[in-house]
Amino acid sequence: MNHWLILPILLPAVLGALLVVAARHDALLSRVFSVASCVLLLIVGLVLLGMASDGSIRVYALGDWVAPFGIVLVLDRLSALMLVLTALLGLGVLLYAVGGWDERGKHFHPLFQFQLMGLNGAFLTGDFFNLFVFFEILLIASYGLMVHGGGGLRVKAGVQYVVTNLVGSSLFLIAVGLIYSVTGTLNMADLALKVPQVPPADQALLQTGAVLLLLVFGVKAALVPLHFWLPGTYANAPGPVAALFAIMTKVGAYSIIRLYVLAFGEQAGEAAWLAAPWLLPAGLLTLVMGMTGVYAARSLGQMASFAVIGSMGMLLATVSVFTPQSLSAALYYLLHSTLAAAALFLVVDLVAERRGMLRDRLALAPRFAQGTLIAGLFFAAAIAMAGMPPLSGFLGKLLVLDAVRSHSQAVWFWALILSTSLIAIVGFARGGSLVFWKSHALETSAAASRRPAAVLPFVAVGGLLAALVVLTVAAGPVHAWLELAAAQIFAPSGYIEAVLGTAKGGQ
């Protein structure tokens, strides 16, 4: 058996525990361990990506229990891609945090590792109760990270976040129970085989379960009308944590892509393409809501949060078309929007750090230290987030617009995507000019501008933006690879054979 598959889960789990026990009082040691873990995760991710690139699907049966009775980890192109994205983002955010920010509260590094463990597990697992467990792991870690550094407002926002997600978890369990009660399986590949065989009398239960599950993933992915938790959480979470959370919404999107093509896709009989009629209008509505929110925001943090909602809307609306072409466009946009959102949140944190009591609020204030450099970074991140040329957001939008051209609702896609882009651009321009540009008109230059800055935060933001540039320059090969990944998703028989074929081999 190929033991590489378990490493992305095992490595952060072991290191996280080690950090709690051994490196609790030693800031340097925990930083070294944490960064080393992230670098290793990136290397493991790249190795797995290399393995997955040959087009075969690898299965890891935990404890050597054969599927569908045991839990399996499954590595295909999509999960390998998500692993690399997680590791890349994790490394960027961690570099930002070890610039001194991580000392504001305790246990940042162990929580960070457990968060990565939950994310990697969610991307790898082939069992949907196990998916629930990994969701809980990443959520528990995120609760800790969300209130890192404390402060009344932040803890309050944290309580709201926890309540929302606990209700979401209950719904998840009910959905899992409903689906299990009519199919008798928890394995995703086995589910894909059992769903078409569900008798008509049980269809109502099955479809209720599936739609409830969509609701749960919608909560994670901040799909309108389930997005309400996101602005409060992200805008009040510390900057680096909000940047890491940029991938959390994508876990919801990933789960929708995985489950609703595999189990409720073409072969699902009566339940075929169950998600599409809900996802399409909700996605477009999310896009409008998010980008309008960018325009209406009162602080840069809120602006970035609404930009995340908008990008999720765009992503999910594109996914809901459910064609290989649209999925590859959506995946390209997913890569882009994760990195861009993270960069934007980090820049917002750089601003908030330097403006004293005013934090990141959209109000006139004197110039601050390294203002010019940060303004440049904000400009780049905002261009990326709004989807303007020359960065990858523009290419992502082009791909999406091209992919939906023959869809029956193409008019809506084109009209809404183009008009919301304009709104977002105006919103970002308004925020940027108020915070960076107009401050030059004020006579009083803050004395703090002499303050030496930590280098690492800038390296981290620059690194994330550089990743966007790479994504733009290498758009051709990346998109070709993503097309193969999408084709693999839309051929579920390969996945099912890979998972359940091992069962036959084991007997």
């Binding site: 209130v147 550094g149 009344g152 803890v155 309580v159 209950s170 369990l173 129970g177 009660s181 009591m357």
Partner: protein, 138 residues
């Protein structure tokens, strides 16, 4: 028995949803607990209700009940127990930091109102934890 279980699940869910929508943290937490109880019962019932049937292999068994939902419920109970502990601690911390136990953020209506709220509390909206709390924990 079906009627009893179904009623119990329904009643607990209804009460749970009502309490979760309350404005203060204590009823919300109770509501969450009720919701998780209802969920656990529901999960248990997905293996079909059966009386006097063993879930594991036994010599004199005539039939078996589905053991998997029971395992799922165990996992769910452990997770929900941990989660309840987390949210109780966070709610307490929020109460001590801000002086009230409202679920809503202070002055979500407007930034001015938020400012007033902070003034009323007599505290600055800061980023780091208060020194006393850090010292207590160290």
């Amino acid at each position: 028995m079906e009627f009893l279980i179904a009623t119990a699940i329904g009643a607990m869910t209804a009460a749970g949803i009502y309490l979760v929508l309350r404005a203060r943290t204590f009823p919300v937490i109770i509501g969450l607990s009720l919701l998780t109880y209802a969920t656990n019962l529901f999960l248990f019932a997905t293996g079909r209700l059966a009386v006097n049937l063993p879930p594991v292999i036994s010599g004199e068994a005539v039939a078996y009940t589905d053991p998997l939902p029971q395992a799922l419920v165990l996992t769910a109970i452990v997770i929900s127990f941990g989660m309840t502990a987390v949210i109780v601690v966070m709610a307490l911390r929020a109460y001590f930091e801000t002086g009230n136990d409202h679920v809503d953020l202070p002055g979500e209506a407007s930034p001015e109102a938020r400012e007033d709220d902070w003034k009323l509390l007599g505290r600055k909206q800061g980023d780091g934890p208060r020194q006393s709390v850090v010292e207590e924990r160290a």
